[in-house]
């Protein structure tokens, strides 16, 4: 995996052209977190990802991600990771796929120990797994959400 020392820009940098191969993985040893280099879909909710939003795969291509869970080109039930910074549509940047992530859009009802999935009813959001959604799980909630924010231990995203 790439290391922070391999980067020429901060981890939260986004650009209109690729700095790395799409799909590249990076391991931040100090934070014990893993990131994947992705492209934001051509049509995202609010025209951009926001930090803390959950993302899904997109029909635009491999390692394209979207915060639009229910409409458009997003494939809401296929989780891809959590945004760590704002990334506009069609831009390239890193999202988090391993370690503890700070998500900002829960349904205000997730509790410590819950398995969570993308919330196909709220763009950029996540909620507690229900029966029949087991294959969509991408993390375990570390502590009850406060407002709409929660820390999640990500799993199975890379």
């Amino acid at each position: 995996m790439l290391q922070l020392s391999d980067l020429t820009q901060p981890l939260t940098y986004y650009g209109a052209t690729t700095l790395h191969v799409l799909g590249s993985l990076l391991y931040d040893e100090e934070a014990a977190k893993v990131y994947r280099y992705c492209r934001v879909a051509a049509a995202a909710t609010n025209n951009a990802l926001a930090a803390g939003e959950c993302t899904c795969a997109d029909t635009g291509g491999i390692y394209y991600v979207n915060n639009d869970m229910a409409g458009g080109t997003g494939l809401g039930t296929i989780p891809m990771g959590v945004a760590i910074s704002a990334i506009p549509e069609n831009y390239y940047g890193w999202i988090q796929v391993g370690g503890i992530a700070a998500v900002t859009i829960t349904d205000a009802g997730v509790a410590a120990g819950d398995f969570i999935v993308n919330n196909t009813g709220e763009d950029g959001g996540c909620d507690t797994m229900a029966d029949g959604e087991e294959e969509q799980v991408f993390g375990i909630v570390v502590a009850d959400d406060v407002g709409d924010a929660a820390d999640v231990l990500l799993r199975g995203l890379y």
């Binding site: 799409l22 799909g23 590249s24 993985l25 491999i62 296929i78 294959e135 199975g156 890379y158």
Partner: protein, 157 residues
């Protein structure tokens, strides 16, 4: 993990004796894909595990794989291991893919966006996840199968 400069041969090289410790993991920085070094079981569904076949773990020992899902020594659909990237004869050593975009063989019914599992009825192939198979999922298809299909692997590494 093994680094680029640590590989003795291309990733698709297979051999009758081990070149690395079994279970070693290799991450390709140019693709974001992850591979694991394994050994093919002594008795597979075909004498040579076919390129693109999905494989399961085998009761023969740690890091041994098989494309025989329903009989023999393969542990079957509940123990997915990865995808073959080079034809692997029985008893030989080589790399399988465990993460990233993989090319696989579907059963002809997989649709874009579906979660996929090992196909209990067709050795080496994938099938759409059914109710009660959620724990067996190895990834999501990004296209309809024809019957080959690209899948984003997850949860194997």
């Amino acid at each position: 993990m093994i680094l680029d400069q640590g590989l003795l041969y291309p990733l698709t090289h297979v051999s009758s004796s081990a070149l690395y410790d079994l279970g070693q993991v290799y991450h390709d920085n140019t693709t974001g894909r992850i591979y694991r070094y394994v050994k093919a079981a002594a008795a597979c569904a075909t004498d040579v595990i076919t390129l693109l076949h999905a494989v399961c773990w085998d009761e023969g020992g740690e890091w041994i794989v098989n494309n025989d899902f329903a009989a023999g020594t393969g542990l079957g659909v509940t123990a997915p291991a990865g995808v073959i990237i080079a034809a692997l004869p029985e008893g030989y050593y080589g790399w399988i893919q465990q993460s990233g975009l993989a090319y696989c063989i579907g059963d002809g019914s997989i649709a874009k966006g579906e979660a996929v599992v090992l196909d209990s009825a067709n050795d080496g192939q994938l099938d759409t996840m059914g109710d009660g198979e959620e724990e067996q999922v190895i990834g999501a298809a990004i296209e309809d199968d024809a019957p080959n299909v690209h899948v984003i692997l997850r949860g194997l590494y």
